[in-house]
């Protein structure tokens, strides 16, 4: 009566769990970093590398499982207790392998991004990596789960650490708010889903997905159960009407966590959804397919319309990823007609989406950490020019709570010279879309990478990966006769294109065009006294502007006066920093230890030199080269490289996909 455990089957999850424990232990026993004396391999770097090694080892285990082939089952009902072939709780089949591989590959990028995020030492590294690894354990286990209990447990294992991860930016009120929001939404969704699961269990008397077949003439309560389960997963994948949390949470969370939410957490949510709908409830397709189709249409529309209005990069990506959820759901919406093949299209889209979205997040992270230089290269009055830009920054800073100021000033890494802080303050708030103006000239490689990912997400050549993904989905919908859904998605593709292309175009336009003459002089004059207020601006996120469709969320973010557009420069927004910092934006506090080389070595040019170039031409190349040697740079290279590979040879994805159906 004792279950035998196939350790080879659970090897990836096991490796991750062991690594998580090891990270926690290492963190406790590593010497605390001595302030002021950073060694090259600091403790958090070591933890990051250990985590990375664990993820890679798990990935290798998944690859080994895939290469050996076959289906591994474990945690089965002992033979004799069950009639027929004994059901198993944990089945590693091609579906599970593809999703585990996807999750772990994404995790490599997320861990690399984390190393960048943690570099400033204000977030406890041990906890961060431990929580990340816990999430990954759940994420790897979930696609292999084949009973309801396992499914719910794995899903919670994915969700719970993410709350804490979101809140780890303790010095930032917005982060805590995001964590609370995420927590509430997630707990409610879990409760709803558990209720649905209990109904399904009550009806069928089994928790095993492959035995959960509900007869077609089941009582109406079966429909209720299906709908409740669906609602629970709709929360996880941020589908309408449970999408409202996405914007605030993504923006408030650290960027790696936002990337994790948008790719890993979402992939896991879809895996669970597919397992439940297509495997367990395939008989009930006539009930859930129309519902999914409606949700899908609403999700893509709502996501795209909300994204249209965003001026903050991560927020835009948040809503765009809601829209992308709609596209992923769409094939399931016609599953009643196409049958199990629909899941293939969804998974394919998910794989393409993961690569391009991670690429976008990685570049956003990079840009946030290397914000725009303060002065216009061509502008003789560079110092004045910089003051004309903080149109979104101004209201934001005014709206900051005093608490944020206090936190920022007490935070470590703040002991900077006045010129440096001035330079940083003059830089545009890094999350704002206008901070991306002229990126193509500052950092052509990052601009090209971001442009490629955005065009991929839009689904246009040369972003062939996105185009093929959309074709796969469209083909499935057309095949299933979902004319209305196809038209809705077609229109949505066009809406989506607008904001993706608008952002892409921003990369190639010269920075700060029209605002220069308007308010520069008064802003510059009033700049001096407010310099301290400007300092936290580079650290604390700005309340999003122009986000009229927001859920009542910005409660603790303070009043956000004048959420006007960027062109509106008010003379009073004089927090833009002093006239001194014309040159390099100066390193964000964090770039120092993890990447000692990149920008920290490059001292800002002499203050007040108006013609000083942002990056001297001679050192520009070497700086760029070193910039890419950082973890974030590597993450970009990986994600964008994969996206390019998918564009050139999308067949690789189709070859990887499970034949038709999980199980």
């Amino acid at each position: 009566m004792i279950q035998t455990i196939d350790y080879a089957a659970i090897a990836p999850a096991l490796i991750l769990a062991v690594t998580a424990a090891a990270v926690l232990l290492l963190d406790a026993f590593l010497p605390a970093p001595t302030p002021g004396r950073e060694t090259r391999l600091s403790g958090r770097t070591l933890l990051g590398l250990v985590t990375l090694a664990g993820v890679l080892a798990a990935l290798a285990a998944v690859a080994a499982q895939a290469l050996t082939g076959g289906v591994r089952r474990t945690f089965c009902v002992p033979p004799g207790l069950a009639s027929g072939e004994p059901p198993c709780s944990y089945v590693v089949d091609s579906f599970a392998l593809v999703l585990a591989g996807l999750v772990l590959a994404a995790a490599v990028v997320v861990v690399l991004l984390s190393m960048g995020e943690l570099a400033d030492g204000r977030i406890p590294a041990g906890e961060w990596y431990f929580l990340t690894l816990c999430t990954l354990v759940g994420a790897v286990a979930l696609p292999a789960a084949r009973d309801l209990v396992m499914l719910v447990v794995a899903l919670e294992l994915v969700s719970l650490p993410v709350f804490a991860l979101t809140a780890l930016k303790r010095y930032d009120g917005r982060s805590s708010e995001a964590a609370v929001k995420l927590f509430l939404v997630s707990v409610v969704s879990t409760a709803v889903m558990l209720f649905g699961v209990s109904l399904l269990y009550g009806l069928t008397g089994t928790v095993y997905l492959d035995r959960l077949a509900i007869p077609a003439d089941a009582p109406p309560v079966a429909t209720v159960g299906v709908v409740l389960v669906l609602a629970g997963f709709a929360f996880k994948v941020a589908a309408v009407p449970f999408h409202a949390w996405a914007g605030d949470v993504y923006q408030g969370a650290p960027i790696p966590v936002a990337a994790l939410l948008s790719v890993i957490s979402k992939a896991v949510g879809f895996a669970g959804l597919i397992l439940l709908l297509a495997l367990a409830l395939s008989e009930q397709a006539h009930v859930w397919a129309p519902l999914v189709a409606a949700i899908s249409a609403l999700t893509m529309t709502a996501g795209n319309l909300l994204a249209l209005r965003q001026r903050h990069a991560v927020r835009l990506l948040a809503w765009s990823s809601v829209a992308q959820s709609g596209y992923i759901l769409a094939p399931l919406g016609v599953a009643a007609a196409t049958g199990p093949a629909a899941t293939g299209a969804s998974v394919a889209y998910l794989v393409f989406y993961a690569a391009m979205n991670l690429g976008a997040f990685a570049v956003v992270m990079h840009v946030t950490r290397h914000p725009a230089p303060t002065a216009l290269p061509a502008e003789p009055a560079g110092a004045l020019a910089q003051d004309s830009r903080p149109s979104t920054q101004g209201p934001g800073a005014l709206g900051q709570e005093p608490g944020v100021l206090a936190q920022a000033s007490s935070a470590p890494g703040q002991a900077r010279g006045p010129s440096q802080s001035g330079a940083e303050a003059g830089a545009q708030e890094p999350g704002d879309l206008d901070a991306y103006r002229g990126l193509a000239r500052r950092n052509p490689a990052a601009a090209l990478a971001l442009a490629f990912c955005l065009i991929c997400l839009a689904g246009l050549p040369p972003g062939l990966a996105g185009l093929f993904a959309k074709i796969v989905v469209f083909r499935e919908i057309v095949d299933g006769g979902g004319v209305v859904l196809a038209i809705v998605m077609a229109v949505n593709t066009v809406i989506g294109l607008y904001y993706y292309v608008a952002w892409t175009a921003r990369l190639f336009t010269p920075p700060a065009p029209a605002a220069i003459p308007t308010a520069s002089t008064p802003a510059a004059l009033r700049a001096q006294p407010v310099v301290p207020a400007a300092v936290p601006m580079s650290i604390a996120p700005v309340p999003s502007t122009g986000d009229a469709v927001q859920v009542p969320s910005t409660g603790d973010a303070g009043p956000t006066p004048g959420t006007g557009n960027a062109a509106q420069v008010r003379p009073g927004s004089g927090d833009a920093g002093p006239v001194s910092g014309t040159g390099n934006a100066g390193p964000v506090p964090g770039t120092r230890d993890i990447a000692p080389a990149p920008l920290a070595t490059e001292a800002p040019p002499a203050p007040g030199a108006p013609e000083a170039a942002p990056v001297p031409a001679a050192t520009g190349a070497t700086t760029a080269a070193r910039e890419w040697a950082t973890p974030v740079g590597v993450a970009i290279v990986i994600a964008v490289g994969v996206a390019i590979a998918f564009s050139l040879a999308p067949q690789a994805v189709f070859d990887l996909l499970p034949p038709a159906f999980p199980g």
């Binding site: 290269p377 061509a378 000239r441 052509p444 065009i455 246009l460 050549p461 040369p462 062939l464 185009l467 093929f468 074709i471 796969v472 469209f474 083909r475 057309v478 095949d479 196809a486 038209i487 077609a490 229109v491 593709t493 066009v494 294109l497 607008y498 292309v501 608008a502 175009a505 190639f508 336009t509 013609e611 170039a613 031409a617 520009g620 190349a621 999308p650 067949q651 994805v653 189709f654 070859d655 996909l657």
Partner: protein, 577 residues
């Protein structure tokens, strides 16, 4: 010889990729030459621009040579079947094959594309541009998409190339365009993407019904295996998708803005090639693959086409901007092309294909000329141009006259045959189509030709004839004299508004303003001095335009040169014996 189609795509693509790593000879590494002193920077810019444009010229020249090689080795005896076929699986998961080939329908368009791209680079090499590396890169990528569209023999591959042009053209308009470029570019890309997505749905519908994406096979089947309802639905979807690109009235509204705001080379390629991708789709996909759908919807297509003809002509009469007028004239000309398709007869489809080529040559030339006029006068506003272009810049004026006359369909020039044959096709439409209806179309189209002549001649009388006063009939106390700064375009004065606006952005050559001053000082008319101030056709312009003039004459005088190539293919496409 199957390598030629691949090379046609690979050469511009490789050229674009090499460009990414290419350093201009002056050793100027950073893209923004802003840190050097002003004059030096300007000189550098000039050197770089010329180098980049010459590089583009070399690459597109090679492409043109390949296209000509293709034309030379093409077996004209078997123009009906695809030649130089390459067919290898690319993405089995999508059923997508890398299937290229060329037949009588696509050969002229491929050569036209290669030619126009080359001429654009010739023009650029002489004219110069801002951000030359980016422009050359964009144009080369654009070339890949354009040529690929005409070569593709796989539905999805066709769609892929169809889409490739969107992003580059967006940037061409959005970066190098005129004053309202941002809005025009966004309108262009959203409109055409909406069309493309609908097109994709139609293509996928065909695929879902027949299980194949192979265009020759589908065309040979002539709709077998697809019920009539599906064919109509698919034709409607594909037709709308292509009609946006073509453009067909009432889906044309992106076109005037895009053409007007695009830089000269962008306008030339938009009008000369991109519109043809839409009409080519009708000949390649919609009509042969979905004959029943085509038969059912042809009256609608014809109706929209003739409305477009008349609408385009009337809109042209109301324009005051030269480029905008030419843009609207495209709507009318494409109306003739679509009318030709709507007849579903060999004559009509031949007319459409002929009209395609003729329009590409003539309107390409017209946009080149309009760009040249804008360069010299600093504006393309017709009242501001005044009149007397023939006296001030005689060669430019003559070329403009020639192009306009060709465009209005004077017999003996290329524009005539497309219109005449389309009307002839409408006179005897395919069996199954209502003849009275098409006779009405023919009559309306005939009215359209008259209106076309009317607006072109009006334009010529306003711009090329008359006394060469740069300010036209404007009174000497015109606001433009007093305030050389751009002023609000809403000035109620009948001829003054907006005339000085382009100064703001383009910072045109000083002679424009000098000319104005000069004319102010010598209002009695000192044509000798004004003539000296506006340069006539320059060498590089002549080099870019003469091939077009020659071809317009050639196809006008010897239309069989083109019809012989297309006819066998058209017969095969229509399933005619």
């Amino acid at each position: 010889m199957t390598w030629v189609p691949i090379a046609l795509l690979a050469v511009p693509l490789a050229g674009a990729l090499i460009l990414l790593g290419l350093r201009p000879p002056a050793g100027k590494a950073t893209p923004e030459g802003v840190r050097t002193a002003e004059g030096e920077a300007a000189a550098m810019e000039g050197v770089r621009a010329r180098f980049m444009a010459r590089y583009g010229m070399a690459v597109s020249g090679l492409t043109l040579a390949l296209a000509l090689l293709l034309a030379a080795t093409f077996d004209y005896g078997a123009a009906a079947r695809p030649q130089f076929v390459i067919d290898v699986p690319w993405i089995p998961g999508l059923g997508l094959r890398f299937h290229l080939g060329i037949d009588g329908v696509s050969l002229p368009l491929v050569v036209l594309t290669a030619l126009l791209t080359f001429l654009c680079f010739v023009y650029l090499a002489g004219h110069g541009t801002e951000r030359p590396r980016e422009l050359v890169f964009t144009l080369l990528v654009l070339t890949v998409g354009m040529i690929g569209t005409f070569l593709a023999l796989d539905l999805l591959l066709f769609f892929l190339f169809f889409e490739i042009v969107l992003i580059p053209m967006y940037f061409v308009i959005a970066i190098w365009g005129g004053r309202a470029r941002r809005a025009a570019a966004v309108k262009f890309i959203l409109y055409t993407l909406l069309g493309s997505v609908v097109l994709l749905l139609g293509l996928l519908l065909i695929w879902a019904q027949t299980g194949t994406l192979d265009i020759p096979r589908l065309a040979a089947a002539h709709g077998a295996g697809m019920p009539r309802g599906v064919q109509i639905l698919a034709f409607a979807a594909i037709g709308i998708g292509l009609a946006v690109k073509a453009p067909m009235w009432p889906l044309h509204t992106w076109l005037p803005d895009a053409h007007t705001e695009a830089p000269t080379v962008g306008s030339v390629l938009l009008a000369g090639v991109l519109l043809k991708m839409g009409t080519y789709g009708f000949a390649r996909i919609a009509i042969p693959i979905l004959p029943e759908g085509a038969a059912a919807l042809a009256p609608w297509l014809g109706a929209f086409a003739v409305v477009g003809i008349v609408y385009g002509a009337l809109a042209c009469l109301a324009q005051r901007d030269l480029k905008r007028m030419i843009a609207y004239s495209s709507v009318g000309h494409m109306g003739f092309v679509l009318l030709g398709f709507a007849t579903l007869t060999p004559v009509g489809v031949n007319a459409a294909l002929f009209g395609n080529i003729a329009h590409g040559l003539i309107t390409g030339l017209l946009f080149f000329l309009a760009g040249a006029v804008k360069d010299r006068y600093g504006t393309a506003d017709m009242p501001a141009l005044g009149g007397g272009m023939l006296a001030r810049v005689p060669r430019l004026g003559s070329l403009l006259t020639f192009a306009c006359v060709a465009s209005l369909g004077l017999p003996g020039l290329a524009g005539f045959w497309g219109e005449m044959l389309a009307l002839l096709g409408a006179f005897a439409p395919a069996p199954g189509l209502s003849r009275p209806l098409f006779l009405v179309f023919m009559a309306v189209g005939g009215v359209g030709t008259v209106l076309t002549a009317a607006y072109f001649l009006t334009m010529l009388s306003r711009v090329t004839h008359g006394r060469p006063h740069p300010l036209g009939q404007t009174p000497p106390t015109d606001t433009r004299h007093e305030t050389p700064e751009p002023h609000a375009p809403g000035t109620p004065e009948p001829h003054a508004p907006g005339t000085a606006e382009p100064h703001a952005r383009q910072a045109p050559e000083p002679h424009t303003r000098e000319a104005a001053e000069d004319a102010h000082g010598h209002r009695a008319g000192a044509p000798q001095r004004t003539l000296a101030l506006l340069p006539d056709v320059r060498g590089y312009e002549l080099a870019a335009w003469v091939p077009l003039v020659g071809l317009i004459l050639l196809f006008g005088l010897w239309p069989k040169a083109l019809l012989l190539v297309t006819t066998p293919a058209v017969l095969a496409l229509l399933g005619a014996p």
